[in-house]
Amino acid sequence: MRIVCPFCGERELGEFTYLGDAKPQRPAADAGEDAVYDYVYLRDNVAGPMSEHWYHGGGCRAWLKVTRNTLTHEISAVEPAAGAGAAKVGA
């Protein structure tokens, strides 16, 4: 399996580390315990295309959002995390 890193190009699986479901969003500070509990523990068991977090630790250290079909390992999209990439010059 290979992933096309938006910064480095097509690279072999061994360069990446898997984290898991990219869908849950970290709740706001005042969201309460139930919302955080859901965020930390509750995951869908997806059979089909799934949005996942992968880390290109063997390359550019970017966190990537990878859409992978869990049935076929087919990867249909790779996009960098919002904060990945170059410094925010003048941001």
Binding site: M1, R2, T17, L19, R26, A29, G32, E33, V36, Y37, Y39, V40, Y41, H53, Y55, G57, R61, A62, W63, H73, E74, I75, P80, A81, A82, G83, A84, A87, K88, A91
Partner: protein, 993 residues
């Protein structure tokens, strides 16, 4: 047995008669020729008996001429290079080859264990489950060892493999498996269109069945067409032909596994060369032209030496000019089998009879029979008599019920052909049944792959060429290569008329799976006992589970199952196909990653200096760290470590702590970022100061700790534990990129850029003054406790100095660029000499941290909260941070949690051991009374006794209580006192002084 290569034809074959090779089989010397396999050389020397079978120790010969061989398995080579279960049919002959037959004692001819045959009734399918169940304890002690001795294959070398194995990557447009007519035609088309082509062939010669069966292609004899094709392919710069290479697996994203036997054809690999190489090949398209495997027909005595696949017999005669028998009978149910009769006659051998199971035989073959004077018998072989001397007499059931007997010393069998559907089925593909050839063919394939030729059920030569050529051209086109492919090679299509026949009923053992000794009656028994599904059949009878993976037996087995269960073969179905296609040595998967190269080794900047000092090193993850520095006369590690601790506490010592993870945090939002990842605040930290920080996982459990210093308004320098260095970097990048992308902050790993030393002890400042530029103020006012800043060293080098203490002593940590690390260690030794400077290792470091009550890995164990560690007050209530909400959960704040506390034996002379469980006095040890355990221990030179830290229920409320340390592992039970976890200098005066 006759003499030297008596069964070798004088002419023909792809052997080099000018290159004689001597080899030994079971201690006897033989000769063969270059171009032989071990099997063909044995055939040429008239050796028919080559092994004993797995369960019944029946005499076995050579059945096939390829990697599907179930019987002719040998131990190849000797000593450390002994390789068990090697197929004689694929082992390339070399001068000096040594091989031994397997699973016989004391000798192949006289095998004591063949008595197993008399006990055959108990060795039926499932006999392990039925026979050896009771009493249960007998299994490990008696049954299993006895069975393993009796039933088995070759012996492993038992010593380390002296050879090297390699792993490599290759990338191409079109990958082709197999170099028969379909594979070569595919390579031609793909190569001509300009594609980058890799062609893998497991044999050491290209051509596949063309090598044995010949034929006419484009008007040329097959051998000339192969030569012309190879010349054309060789001239193409982007076509790579890999012989001795088996494509064994198909993985995700167009990645293929292949094993190249680089030097298996030599006694010893040449110096600096590998024995085998594991390839991972990434291909846009793949043409599976892996051919087909001829299948046996199951009848009594079908395992007798001398019974051979019809196609294998042609291989031995045509390719190797070696004759497996002098008087040959042929048993076939299809037209193709007749080629063996033609070959035998053309080579001057006698044909005793052809037994054809079909109702009709073609006029051409009838004419051949009458011209050559052999009978054509309509019927089936009922049994073969012979034993270890080889086949002698063949009993035939004629159509209509009569019987006939045929005298022959060889029986060629053809039950049709099974396309090699492994490669196309490895992604859980299920092949489909084709009635016209009575065989499974691929039904689709993994993405990017297509089957062609015999592997796709096209058995005619012309069809193989057309399919291969078209598949190669299409694959190249799909890969974006559009060159002119020229014209397709042309050949006739032979007839292949087949009447299915799987099993001839009769008396005597009829083997389906010869390698695992599974008989037709075992399959029938499995059906009667309810193991009818093919996956159950396989596991209950072990059919197809041997090293040959049932290449000659699976389809016959499930056809027999279909017959007895009243279903069709396609209804019965196949088992799941899984790689590898051929056995692959674990050594090839490991490659160079073995012994000291099993993983990378990281050396600290002062490693070579420490080695000069005679340091004892300990593996810490990938690192080698100095554990202690023994001195002459010291009797054990404890004496050395105690000396080091005392030297630090009374004078000064230093320790390389470069293994800590180090991360530079830059940017206007650096402080805000650290506030969110640590439980305590860092935005409020003054420039020039350091602070201890604790980070949690989002679930509220402690993740890591370390000191972070603020070197400038927008620049922090963060340290992590050694173990978590990489993981914390990954975690912080996740926080920065995914959770908090709005923050303007950048992270840089600088773990390898800085050499860092802890310098500790009351004389630290005196030593540092010798190192640091005199202009730098190191006084308590000028550089107070938890100060951190850049300083200039004598000579001008810039360094970072941190006044932090892990030991509890007056201490600094000094960072210099890693390339100065070794020089720094040497300088500290020179500059510190007047102060008695003492290098110390990780053991002394650990002793001092336990004396000081600092938590480390054993306490940050993935189950503890900040509160458990006594650090709950650090949790800020003014900000959000990772893990804040979950850390507040009821169970994580429960008052009865096990928390860090100090522990010391009441008997000062008693040794404390980590792992001992804490039980209240007067209670019986058990899960109900278990209140925690000892996490870290050391001998404290300061207290002159063993002390430790532990996680104990309500520990901090129980200071002074005497409890039991219960240690069933070591058979100990003794009283300990729960005490303050800070054993040394509890008010911290020494580190601030």
């Amino acid at each position: 047995m006759r003499g030297d290569q008596a069964n070798r034809l004088n002419n023909g074959g792809l052997i080099d008669r000018s290159a004689a090779l001597n080899f030994r089989f079971d201690g006897k010397t033989f000769s063969g020729f270059k171009g032989d396999t071990l099997a063909s050389a044995l055939v040429a020397n008239g050796v028919k008996l080559v092994g004993r079978s797995f369960k019944y120790h029946r005499p076995r010969g050579i059945l096939t001429a390829g990697s599907e061989e179930p019987n002719a398995l040998v131990e190849l080579r000797s000593g450390a290079r002994r390789e068990p279960n090697t197929k004689a049919t694929t082992a390339e002959l070399y001068d000096g080859l040594e091989a031994a037959s397997q699973n016989r004692w004391p000798s192949l001819n006289f095998d004591v264990m063949s008595i197993n045959q008399l006990f055959a009734p108990i060795f039926v399918a499932g006999f392990y489950y039925k026979t050896f169940m009771w009493p249960a304890k007998f299994w490990e002690a008696i049954y299993e060892p006895a069975i393993r001795r009796a039933a088995g294959l070759g012996r492993a070398a038992g010593v380390s493999d002296p050879d090297h194995y390699d792993k490599a990557w290759a990338h191409c447009d079109v990958l082709i498996a197999g170099s028969g007519p379909a594979g070569l035609a595919a390579a031609l088309a793909a190569g001509r269109s300009g594609a980058r082509v890799v062609l893998c062939e497991e044999d050491f010669v290209l051509g596949g069945r063309l090598l044995a069966d010949g034929g006419t292609i484009d008007g040329l004899p097959a051998s000339e067409w192969i030569a012309r094709t190879l010349a054309e392919l060789s001239a193409m710069p982007d076509v790579r032909i890999m012989t001795r290479t088996t494509l064994f697996g198909v993985y995700d994203g167009g990645t293929y596994g292949a094993i190249e036997r680089v030097n298996d054809h030599l006694p010893v690999p040449p110096e600096h060369q590998v024995r085998q190489r594991l390839w991972r090949i990434v291909a846009k398209r793949c043409v599976a032209a892996a051919g087909a495997i001829e299948r046996p027909i199951v009848f009594a005595g079908n395992d007798t030496p001398g019974v051979m696949m019809a196609s294998a017999m042609r291989s031995y005669i045509n390719r190797y000019a070696a004759t497996p028998a002098t008087r040959i009978a042929l048993f076939t149910n299809n037209e193709d089998g007749w080629r063996t009769a033609e070959t035998a006659i053309a080579s001057g051998l006698q044909v005793a009879a052809v037994i054809d199971a079909r109702p009709d035989v073609s006029p051409a073959h009838r004419a051949l029979a009458s011209k050559s004077g052999f009978p054509v018998l309509h019927g089936a072989v009922a049994s073969v008599d012979g034993g270890k001397g080889g086949a002698r007499k063949i009993s035939v059931s004629l159509t209509g019920g009569a019987r006939a007997e045929v005298e022959a010393d060889g029986l060629a069998v053809s039950g049709g052909w099974n396309p090699a559907v492994g490669l196309t089925s490895y992604h859980r593909g299920r092949p489909k049944w084709r009635d016209d050839i009575a065989a499974f063919v691929p039904d689709g394939a993994p993405p990017g792959m297509v089957a062609a030729g015999a592997a796709n059920g096209a058995f005619g030569l012309g069809a193989c060429l057309r399919e291969g050529f078209e598949a190669g051209a299409a694959a190249a086109r799909d890969a974006g290569c559009s060159g002119n492919v020229g014209s397709v090679p042309v050949a006739d299509d032979e007839a292949f008329s087949l009447t299915p026949l799987w099993h001839v009923p009769g008396k005597g053992k009829a083997f389906v799976d010869q390698q695992h000794d599974v008989t037709a009656s075992d399959v029938e028994l499995a059906q009667r006992e309810g193991f009818e599904s093919v996956e159950h059949l396989k596991r209950y009878t072990t059919l197809g589970m041997a090293t040959d993976q049932g290449k000659t037996s699976n389809v016959a087995g499930l056809a027999i199952m279909a017959a007895v269960s009243g279903k069709s073969v396609p209804e019965t179905g196949t088992t799941i196909y899984r790689p590898p296609y051929v056995p692959v040595a674990i050594g090839a998967f490991a490659g160079h990653h073995r012994d000291e190269n099993f993983h990378a080794t990281r050396l600290t900047p002062s490693h070579h200096w420490a080695a000069e000092q005679g340091a004892i090193f300990v593996d810490t993850g990938l690192w080698k760290r100095a554990q202690w520095y023994p001195r002459a006369g010291e009797k054990d590690w404890l004496e050395s470590v105690t000396r080091e601790v005392k030297a630090v506490r009374s004078g000064v010592g230093f320790c390389d702590v470069s293994t800590l993870g180090k991360i530079d945090v830059h940017g206007p939002d650096a402080g805000a970022f650290l506030d969110r990842v640590y439980i305590n605040a860092f935005s409020s930290l003054a420039v020039g100061k350091a602070r201890y920080g604790l980070m949690l996982r989002e679930d509220g459990i402690v993740y890591d700790d370390g000191t972070t210093s603020r070197l400038a308004e927008d620049h922090y320098f963060l340290t992590t534990t050694t173990a978590k260095a990489g993981l914390v970097m990954q975690h912080l990048e996740f926080c920065r990129q995914v959770l908090f992308p709005e923050l303007d902050v950048q992270l840089t790993s600088v773990s390898d850029q800085w050499a860092q030393f802890s310098i500790a002890g009351p004389n630290t400042r005196d030593l540092l003054k010798e190192i640091v530029d005199p202009a730098e103020d190191l006084s308590n006012e000028g550089f107070p406790f938890m100060g951190a800043r850049e300083v200039r060293l004598r000579g001008g080098l810039k360094a970072r100095l941190f006044r932090i203490s892990f030991s509890g002593e007056m201490a600094f940590e000094i960072s210099v660029p890693a390339r100065y690390g070794e020089a720094m260690a040497r300088n500290l030794m020179v500059a510190g000499k007047p102060f008695g400077v003492t290098p110390y290792g990780t053991e002394a470091l650990g002793v001092m941290r336990i004396e000081k009550g600092h938590v480390a890995g054993p306490e940050l164990n993935g189950t503890t909260t900040a509160g458990d560690l006594g650090l709950g007050k650090m949790m800020s209530t003014k900000k959000d941070f990772i893990g804040r909400v979950m850390a507040g959960r009821e169970a994580l704040t429960a008052p009865n949690r096990q928390v860090v506390v100090g522990i010391k034996p009441t008997d000062k002379a008693h040794r404390l051991r980590s792992g001992a469980h804490i039980i209240p006095k007067g209670e019986t040890p058990g899960p109900g009374n278990d209140q925690g355990y000892v996490t870290s221990v050391c001998f404290s030179p300061v207290l002159d006794q063993w002390i430790g830290l532990g996680l104990v229920e309500r520990g901090r409320e129980r200071i002074g209580e005497i409890v039991r340390a219960h240690d069933p592992l070591r058979g100990e039970d003794y009283d300990v006192e729960l005490c303050n976890s800070v054993f040394y200098d509890p008010d911290g005066g020494r580190q601030r002084g």
